[in-house]
Subunit: 202 residues, 2 copies
C-alpha cells in the first residue's frame, strides 16, 4: 500500500502500472489482485486509509475550547505537519477533485466534507464571538486549504525549477510556510476594529 500510495500520487491511477507497484513493494504482481481485488481495489483501499486517517487527526481540533484565532493557527500547523509527512494525501486529493471524484464512493466522500466541517466551525466560532470579521466559511475554507495544498503539490515542480536554475530561490521549508499562512490568515480574518465597538446585530 505504501508503494501504491506513492506511485498513484505521483503518476495517477491510469499512469501507474501494477507491475511497478509490485516491484517497488517487492511482492508478486498477482498478489495485488489476490489481496485487493485488482488495481482499482488497491486504489480504493489506499484512498480510504489515507483520507480517514487524515480526517481523524484533523477532527481532534473539533471540541477544543481554545479561541478561534488560536484554533485556526493550530489547524494550519496540524494540517501542514500531516501533509508534510504524507505528501501523497494532497496529491491524491487534488487528482480526485479534478476528475470529479471518479474513484470516490460513499465511504470516502464524507472525508472531504468532514475537513470543511472543521474549518467551518472554527470560522463560525470566530465570527460569532467577533474574533473574526464576517466572512463566508466556504470561501475561506477554499482559500485556506488551497494555499496549504498548493504548497505541497507544487513541491516536485518547484524542486525542478530551482535545481534547473530557472528560478533563483531557496527551497522553502514547510515550517516557514506554516508561519506565513498563519500570519496571512490571522491578519486577513481579524475583526475590522478592536472588539470594543462591535456592530450589534440583534
Amino acid at each position: 500500500m505504501a508503494a501504491g500510495t506513492e506511485l498513484f500520487a505521483r503518476h495517477g491511477f491510469e499512469g501507474t502500472r501494477v507491475e511497478q507497484i509490485a516491484r517497488k513493494a517487492r511482492v508478486n504482481k498477482a498478489m495485488i489482485s489476490y489481496h485487493f481485488g485488482g488495481k482499482a481495489g488497491l486504489y480504493r483501499a489506499i484512498l480510504l486509509s489515507l483520507f480517514t486517517e487524515t480526517v481523524e487527526r484533523i477532527r481532534e481540533l473539533k471540541d477544543s475550547p481554545e479561541p478561534a484565532d488560536v484554533l485556526l493557527r493550530t489547524f494550519v500547523r496540524n494540517f501542514t505537519e500531516l501533509v508534510a509527512r504524507q505528501p501523497s494525501v494532497p496529491m491524491m486529493l487534488v487528482r480526485e477533485a479534478i476528475s470529479g471524484g471518479r474513484h470516490l464512493d460513499r465511504e470516502v466522500l464524507p472525508c472531504f466534507t468532514a475537513i470543511f466541517s472543521v474549518v467551518r466551525e472554527i470560522i463560525e466560532k470566530g465570527t460569532r464571538d467577533r474574533t473574526f470579521r464576517q466572512v463566508d466559511p466556504l470561501l475561506t475554507h477554499l482559500s485556506l486549504i488551497g494555499s496549504l495544498v498548493f504548497f505541497f503539490i507544487t513541491a516536485p515542480l518547484r524542486d525542478r525549477l530551482i535545481s534547473e536554475a530557472h528560478v533563483r530561490a531557496e527551497k522553502p521549508e514547510p515550517e516557514a510556510y506554516v508561519r506565513h499562512v498563519q500570519d496571512l490568515m490571522t491578519r486577513a480574518l481579524a475583526a475590522e476594529a478592536p472588539p470594543a465597538a462591535p456592530v450589534e446585530r440583534t
Copy 2:
C-alpha cells in the same frame, strides 16, 4: 486541440484515449498522429498554447504604474477571469506540477516562472513603498495562486458534493471568490501600522 484540452485536463494524459479526442473533435484518429506527431505531440502543443497565452495576458500588468495594492487586486481579478474562461489551465498546471513537470520542456517551463515573476514584482513594489508589510514573495505567491487555483480545480468535486447533498451550500460564484481573495490578501498584506511611522532601514 479544444477537445484534447478538455479531456487531458479532466482525465490526465494517460487517462485520455486518442480515439476519445478524435470522436469529440469529429476528426479521424489518424489525423492526430499526422498533424501533431501522436498523442504526446498533441499534449505538448496544447500545453504550450495554453500556458503561453495565459502568461501573455498576465504579463500585461507588468508595466502598470498603479500602486501595489491596486495591482494585486487587478491581478486576482484578471487571473480569475482567465481561468474561469479556461478551467483547463489550472487543471493541467496542477497535473504537471504534481508529476514534476514530466511533459514540460524548455519552451513551457518559463511560463511558470513568468507568473511568479509578475506576482513577485507586485509584492516587492508593495514592500518597497511600504504599502505592504515585509513578506516573502515566493511564499506569498504560493498562497495566492494556491487559493485561486484550488477554487477552480475543486469545482467538479464541489458540484458533485453539493448535488449529492453531502454538503448543504450553494455553488460559489467566481465573482464572489474574486472579492473574497482580494479582501483576504489586501488585509493580509497591509502594512502593520499606517505608513506614518515606517521602520527606517538605511
